[in-house]
Amino acid sequence: MALAHVASSTSRSNLLRPISAFVSPNLRRQLSTDDTRTLTIETSVPFTSHRCESPSRSVETTPSELLSFFRDMATMRRMEIAADSLYKAKLIRGFCHLYDGQEAVAVGMEAAITKKDSIITAYRDHCTFLGRGGTLLEVFSELMGRIGGCSKGKGGSMHFYKKDSGFYGGHGIVGAQVPLGCGLAFAQKYKKDGTVTFALYGDGAANQGQLFEALNISALWDLPAILVCENNHYGMGTAEWRAAKSPAYYKRGDYVPGLKVDGMDALAVKQACKFAKEHALKNGPIILEMDTYRYHGHSMSDPGSTYRTRDEISGVRQERDPIERIRKLILSHDLATEKELKDTEKEVRKLVDDAIAQAKESPMPEPHELFTNVYAKGYGVEAFGADRKEVRAVLP
């Protein structure tokens, strides 16, 4: 059943009245059964391709997948909003770049790949980390600089990692993660793992020279590298048309094929990533441009409204919000009731609040941690604190 068809029949109101509202509770399907039947859903818009064939607009999914999309995105959304409050309460320091609005990219990508595939991204990494299997507790502990954090409090917001499930960070320098991602792909090919790497970057990073250098090499050497441009249309305060002569990022690979995807549609993201993985394993690099949007400013120090209008922001929220899209799909296919979804959201809110409370209990790192992990193998070399005669350590 095409989403477009359903949507047009309820165009008068944003809220989709669930069909089950007219049916007695006894006949309503339980959430847990029938979750393996396949649904075929059309993406919001067709894919646009460059030097390759587009994948089909019809995406196969299951009720359980859609419900997990909803839950995961709601968790990510709630986590980022909570992080905003924690930052304003000064429990999070330094930089904090929030991902709310872009959740469909993280969630759709995970649905298409395994934890043996690798993902690498820049500093807007909280949700990507969560998608890779990180926990809310690890996120909030790291943000507050506590030992329970994924980097033991030593990294901070921009430096989350989870190597055991293929998440390589978490990088602060714009564009650096792309050659690194191609390097991961190089190693995957070298070791014949049959896996791929997704190297995420933004429209701001899309003009970095190192990207093209790494892409050239990846194409020459047929590396299984998938470059994913999360185009939220603003590089900090600069709109894409002011930074790029050609903002058609999916075409910027020139000889490398590309696909433009509605990044607010988790099913479209899933389809594109599935397609890209198959392509990369056979034919080398491909670029995916995810047309997405961030509701927050670039970081917590940026209001996000000096270079965008509030109408634009609320317009996207109204028309294209990724969570609302999935909510409508779930309701229109009668996979859950409005109340059940609201209960999920309440549950998620509680999980986030509990994780924050637990994270606050996590202690700060011990002083000796200052000197741990400088090297993997320190050979007993000496390292010094600020006063070298007062604080010195031996690096193991």
């Binding site: 320091r93 330094g94 930089f95 600089g145 506590r146 980097s151 409090g153 030593k154 990294g155 901070g156 917001s157 921009m158 430096h159 990088h171 602060g172 320098i173 714009v174 564009g175 701001g204 990073a205 003009n207 970095q208 020279g209 190192q210 590089g235 900090m236 305060g237 600069t238 002011r242 930074a243 790029a244 000096t306 270079y307 700060m364 790192p365 002083p367 941690e369 200052l370 000197f371 400088v374 390292a383 010094f384 604190g385 600020a386 006063d387 070298r388 005669k389 007062e390 604080v391």
Partner: protein
């Protein structure tokens, strides 16, 4: 007292009037009856930078500003506020996030005779442009036997801010300071900032201008001279912030504030510290530093950057080479810890110099137990 102070400053150029000696500190802690001091106004470092840029752009049409968010966003840290409106997009250029590219373009423009001011959002990002700074800018006047000079200024925040993590907190003073062909400046107060930025823009050579994000909002008194648009400070001259006789403490940028606080604490314990604000990392004012140590016989160097091959290492060596017989105690270095900067607040505090570290080192030179 003022007479003696003047005498001590014999080595400085004529422009260096009484006002240059630690005006901020003197005004804050002593009653000063100088009429010029009474008219002193206050200015934040941000205002100092903005006004210096504005005046130099106004005075010389070849001066232009380029960098990320310098124009429409009014500057990532609002340093270039109002400049786009005043001078237009040809002279205030918003660049894409491509340091290697736009730095190369800036250096090329300087080759041709323009006077670019290239802003790095932080000097951490300038590492992407290192080849152009060193190979294209620093060495060209030499390689071309003087045909092509490079009148460019590279400016932006340097060193640690607050909790911004390992990739956003490094101090590059020592790296740039080791490179011939570059001039490297590190102001502390608003007056330093104004005078040195104006000097840097007027200078015909590539200048690295190291600012500090945490100083941008700090307010300092400025003398009447400093507010004048012709104001300029000499490059290569350190400034004695406060005179002392027991120990010389050298510092630059934010650490000058820490050294001044340490001096206050030491004074209560009967130790008179002379605080030198380096102002210029390259050329390094070895004369002033050595003259000071010959007077006090003890040295503590303070910097935020890593200790090995740091600015303090060069200063200590200079003093050992030139004033060895004058030293009554081993030289002391206070620097950042030998680790990538951690995020956790307690670890970050341990990884960066604190006032108590400076006090402790100064006491050690005086053989006082801590």
């Amino acid at each position: 007292m003022w007479g003696i102070v003047r005498q001590r400053l014999g080595g400085y150029s004529a422009y260096y009037s009484l006002q240059r000696i630690g005006l901020g500190h003197l005004l804050n802690s002593l009653k000063c009856y100088s009429s010029e001091a009474a008219a002193a106004k206050k200015m934040t470092v941000r205002e100092a930078l903005n006004s210096a840029l504005d005046e130099e752009m106004s005075a010389d049409p070849k001066v232009f500003l380029m960098g990320e968010e310098v124009g429409e966003y009014q500057g990532a840290y609002k340093i270039s506020k109002g400049l786009l409106e005043k001078y237009g997009p040809e002279r205030v250029c918003d660049t894409p996030i491509t340091e290697a590219g736009f730095t190369g373009i800036g250096v090329g423009a300087a080759y041709y005779g323009l006077k670019p001011v290239v802003e790095f959002m932080t000097f951490n990002f300038a590492m992407q442009a290192m080849d152009h700074i060193i190979n294209s800018a620093a060495k060209t006047n030499y390689m071309s036997a003087g045909q092509i000079s490079v009148p460019i200024v590279f400016r932006g925040p340097n060193g640690a801010a607050a909790g911004v993590g390992a990739q956003h907190s490094q101090c590059y003073a020592a790296w740039y300071g080791s490179c011939p062909g570059l001039k490297v400046l590190a102001p502390y107060s608003s007056e330093d900032t104004r005078g040195l930025l104006k000097a840097a823009i007027r200078d015909p050579d590539p200048v690295i201008f190291l600012e500090n994000e945490l100083l941008y909002g700090e307010s300092f008194p400025v003398s009447a001279e400093a507010v004048d648009s012709s104001f300029c400070l000499p490059i290569g001259k350190a400034k004695i912030e406060i005179e002392g006789k027991d120990v010389t403490i050298t510092a630059f940028s934010k650490m000058v504030g820490y050294a001044l606080k340490a001096a206050e604490i030491l004074a209560k314990e009967g130790i008179s510290a002379e605080v030198i604000n380096l102002c210029s990392i390259r050329p390094l004012d070895r004369a002033t530093i050595n003259a000071s140590v010959r007077k006090t016989n003890r040295l503590v160097t303070v910097e935020e950057g890593y200790p090995q091959h740091g600015v303090g290492a060069e200063i200590c060596t200079s003093v050992i080479e030139e004033s060895f017989e004058y030293l009554d105690a081993p030289v002391e270095r206070i620097a950042g810890a030998d680790v990538p900067l951690p995020y956790a607040a307690n670890l970050e505090r341990m990884a960066l110099p604190q006032v108590e570290d400076v006090v402790r080192a100064a006491k050690r030179t005086c053989y006082r137990s801590v």
